[in-house]
């Protein structure tokens, strides 16, 4: 098992190497550069050349990539030209909010998805099943940013119950847990409903299979109520089948958070990356992508390990 984890972690190295190389290459090949973004309409060829020299952009991109790799080995991610601060400070400050948002959306999405899936399976082919399946379909089809706007309109503008955007009340010095939760609720919900749709479909199919399996039929023959059978004996099996999808959803949520972070002005990595790409801030993009890719790989590894564990326990049972 330790060997397996070590191998998977080692695999991170080529993955990150590939991702950063591709990002660096693509960012260097698209037209425009940070010097141009800074100077805007004032960008004469002469001033551009001066600024490029000052920013170290005069060398060819493979050379700059190698330099970046060399600095990375010393833990130096460079300096962001669009934020005028070290990349490491910029990305670390933004990672927490993104993980918080994606994590809470994953948790809520999983709970809602599993609940919907199990309920539908227990009422298989009855009206509840149809309704739940319909709701799940709607969840999958809704673009999360559109849902986000509707939620803002309803809860923040009309009802005034929740804040429209941000992560805390900006006029307070610090933040309290209640304040954070109030700000977290709407963006989490917008992201979670989509994930819940996907997880719900898989969980429903898995639960229907589980209910039809021999050990469960035996339980039923013993007169144990079906919901109890499913929750006590079948849940692990359902979870084991749903886990890879949950892992994939985690990646989707980290990516999908870009839109939600923009709409809700959540101070996360996704929003920062969008701005960084527009400003052609290559090093900042690299730093952000590096962190996101690492998080993505680790979350999927965790999901695989969980599934592995669950499978073993079902087999033992």
């Amino acid at each position: 098992m330790t060997g397996y984890i070590a191998r998977r972690l080692l695999l991170l190295v080529p993955v990150l190497f590939g991702v950063t190389l591709v990002v660096f290459g693509v960012m260097s090949l698209v037209p425009g550069d940070p010097a141009l973004a800074i100077l805007g309409p004032y960008a004469t060829p002469e001033r551009l050349a001066d600024l490029r020299l000052a920013l170290g952009l005069d060398r060819p991109w493979p050379a700059r990539y190698l330099l970046w790799l060399g600095n990375l080995a010393h833990g130096d991610l460079g300096r962001s030209v669009s934020l005028e601060q070290p990349v490491l400070d910029a990305v670390l400050g933004r990672l927490g909010p993104t993980l918080l948002l994606a994590g809470s959306a994953l948790l809520l999405g999983t709970l809602l998805g599993l609940a919907a899936g199990l309920l539908a399976a227990l009422r298989h082919n009855r009206i509840t099943d149809r309704l739940v399946t319909l709701a799940v379909l709607i969840g999958i089809s809704l673009p999360s940013f559109w849902l986000g706007l509707l939620l803002i309109l309803l809860f923040a503008v009309w009802l005034g119950w929740l804040p429209a955007s941000g992560m805390s009340r900006v006029w307070l010095a610090g933040t309290s847990l209640a304040d954070l939760l109030r700000h977290l609720l709407l963006p989490t919900l917008s992201l979670a409903l989509v994930a819940a749709g996907v997880i719900g479909r898989i969980a429903r199919a898995a639960a229907i299979d589980v209910l039809a399996a021999d050990p469960i039929r035996l339980c039923r023959a013993r007169g144990i109520a079906e919901p109890r059978i499913l929750l006590v004996h079948g849940l692990k099996a359902v979870l084991a089948r749903t886990m890879p999808v949950i892992g994939l959803q985690a990646g989707f949520l980290i990516g999908g958070a870009v839109y939600i972070e923009t709409i809700f002005q959540w101070p996360g990595l996704g929003r920062m990356l969008v701005d960084a790409i527009a400003a052609r801030d290559l090093l900042l993009v690299q730093g952000g992508v590096l962190l996101l890719a690492t998080a993505y790989v680790l979350v999927n590894l965790a999901a695989d390990l969980l599934q592995h564990g669950l499978d073993r326990r079902t087999r033992a049972a």
């Binding site: 698209v30 973004a37 309409p41 005028e84 941000g166 006029w171």
Partner: protein
């Protein structure tokens, strides 16, 4: 689901709207600032914070673009127009407690202009060329500073009033080095409190300010990039004022009594650069036809919903003293006049040999600083041109890629290109983008390759003239010549908008588009 609702109930219960306190103004900005070092940043978004933190030797007189004394009480100009001497206020200190004096002024310019200066590496300073005529800065005595220029340069005071001329604390720059932009210190009515990335920049009233103390205790700038979210936050009460809303939203807020819409037309121009070197637009008759065919009134009123004003010449109308009132009258006010214009355009095209129509390639950015609604405007222009038989094919680019393409000069595959500029002096646009020597190959912005030696001579004379009335006359002559030659189709000037909740008082928008908030305050509890 019901379980979820019940667990959320306690969170929602008692949740009435939570509004910012009365002594704090919360401003919905369009982006995260890049830096709070005024010599490093070039973004209008950042300038709106900076003018509350810092002051320059001169500033714009409220409601105008005319320089008036700021940190300098007065100034004089030598007879040869090359030496400016500024007398400084004696009672000024920086937020960090250090004194503002002539030595501090010299430090500010040397850091930007002298590559040997020990703190020059705290740059780059992209707009330092605003002061490239400065040969040296001399400290005459602690309260007198002298600028010696290479040659007379009339726009110098206007350039000093621009944010690139704001004065930073030398002590703070020495202390923080490259991170000064995150630890700013100036002499303005507000001092810096904190900057939480992606969340807010907070400024608080500077109690030792040399002038009238600020009316509000605190300013909080929030970056809200999504315009819909800015609208939602304003309606939900999370922010007190929102900048740069879309034309449709501004129109909607005008109908609502709980809000106030403020507007000011700036020294901005939105225009089409025409390719005078290659293709059909090298022919003056075709350029005139294009100019006649475009319906500015519809563009400004229907496409931009009056968030811009029609514009006609290369000098924005905000420079009232330099604009010819005759040139800014719209000849196409009535339908009949408009039809006559279209007939005239068709006749010109026929005369140029394009009676059966012609095709043009039209470059447009998809967004970008000051570009208003470029695609919608380009589509309307396309429709106008179609009415006289011109088939314009739109080529759209992302802003950054667009600048790279257009600033390099229009080649044979591009007939016209949309562009927008914010300027700070009538000199800016003509001298950077219309002179023969301002071709892209020589470091200018004359991407359409216009060249008229008479215009060049007038621009040079206007730069050297130190009398304002004389300068005004020269710019009017330039405008007339340019209007005959039609190197550009000048379409509109941006009318900046800001929407506030009605309780926000004593706030005005300046034509400079900067946002000084020292007088603004909020009426108590009135919602």
């Amino acid at each position: 689901m019901s379980v979820l609702v019940f667990t959320l109930m306690p969170l929602l219960a008692g949740c009435s709207r939570q509004l910012p306190p009365d002594d704090s103004l919360v401003i919905g900005q369009v982006a995260e600032p890049r830096s709070l070092d005024p010599h490093v940043t070039t973004a209008l978004n950042d300038f709106r914070i900076l003018v509350n933190l810092y002051e320059g030797l001169v500033r714009y007189r409220p409601g105008t673009l005319e320089p008036m004394p700021g940190l300098a009480e007065s100034w004089s100009l030598s007879d040869d127009g090359r030496v400016y001497e500024f007398r400084l206020r004696a009672d000024v200190q920086f937020h960090d407690g250090s004194r503002f004096d002539a030595e501090a002024v010299r430090f500010n310019f040397q850091r930007m202009l002298d590559s040997e200066h020990p703190l020059h590496d705290t740059g780059p300073f992209p707009l330092a060329f605003f002061f490239e005529q400065v040969q040296r800065v001399e400290v005459v005595d602690p309260l007198t500073v002298r600028f010696v220029l290479d040659a007379p340069f009339a726009p110098f005071p206007s350039n000093l009033a621009y944010p690139t001329g704001l004065m930073v604390s030398p002590a703070a720059v020495r202390l923080y080095g490259r991170d000064f932009g995150r630890h700013p210190s100036g002499t303005g009515p507000f001092r810096f409190s904190d900057w939480q990335s992606g969340r807010r920049v907070t400024l608080t009233r500077f109690t030792d300010y040399h002038g009238e103390p600020a009316a509000s205790r605190r300013l909080i700038f929030r970056p809200i990039t999504d315009p819909m979210t800015r609208v939602a936050e304003l309606m939900a009460g999370g922010i007190d004022l929102a900048l740069e809303l879309s034309p449709d939203n501004v129109a909607a807020f005008r109908q609502r009594p709980a809000y106030r819409v403020l507007e000011a037309t700036g020294p901005h121009l939105w225009f089409l650069i025409l390719n005078l070197r290659d293709g059909p637009l090298a022919d003056l008759r075709v350029r005139r036809a294009v100019n006649l065919a475009i319906d500015r009134q519809t563009l400004v009123h229907d496409v931009l919903r009056d968030t811009a004003e029609r514009a006609f010449g290369p000098v924005p109308r905000a420079f009232t003293w330099a604009v010819d009132p005759e040139l800014s009258a719209d000849p196409s006010a009535s339908d009949e006049a408009r039809d006559a214009q279209l007939d005239q355009a068709r006749a010109l095209l026929a005369e140029a040999g394009y009676a059966d129509g012609l095709q043009l390639r039209f470059l447009v950015p998809r967004g970008g600083s000051g570009m208003l609604a470029p695609l919608a405007m380009a589509t309307a222009v396309q429709g106008d041109l179609a009415r006289v038989g011109i088939d314009a094919a739109i080529d759209s680019y992302e802003w950054n890629a667009y600048l790279a393409r257009v600033n390099a000069g229009l080649d044979a595959s591009a007939d016209m290109a949309a562009m927008a500029w914010m300027t700070n002096d009538p000199d800016t646009l003509p001298s950077l983008a219309l002179r023969c020597d301002a071709r892209p190959e020589e470091g200018g912005f004359n991407s359409g390759y216009y060249c008229n030696p008479d215009v060049d001579a007038l621009i040079e004379r206007a730069r050297q003239a130190t009398d304002r009335d004389q300068r005004g006359r020269l710019y009017r002559s330039i405008s007339r010549l340019v209007r005959q030659d039609v190197p550009w189709v000048v379409v509109a000037s941006w009318r900046q908008n800001l929407v506030t909740r009605r309780r926000v008082q004593d706030l005005r928008l300046e034509p400079s588009f900067f946002l000084r908030l020292d007088h603004a305050w909020k009426q108590r509890g009135l919602e």
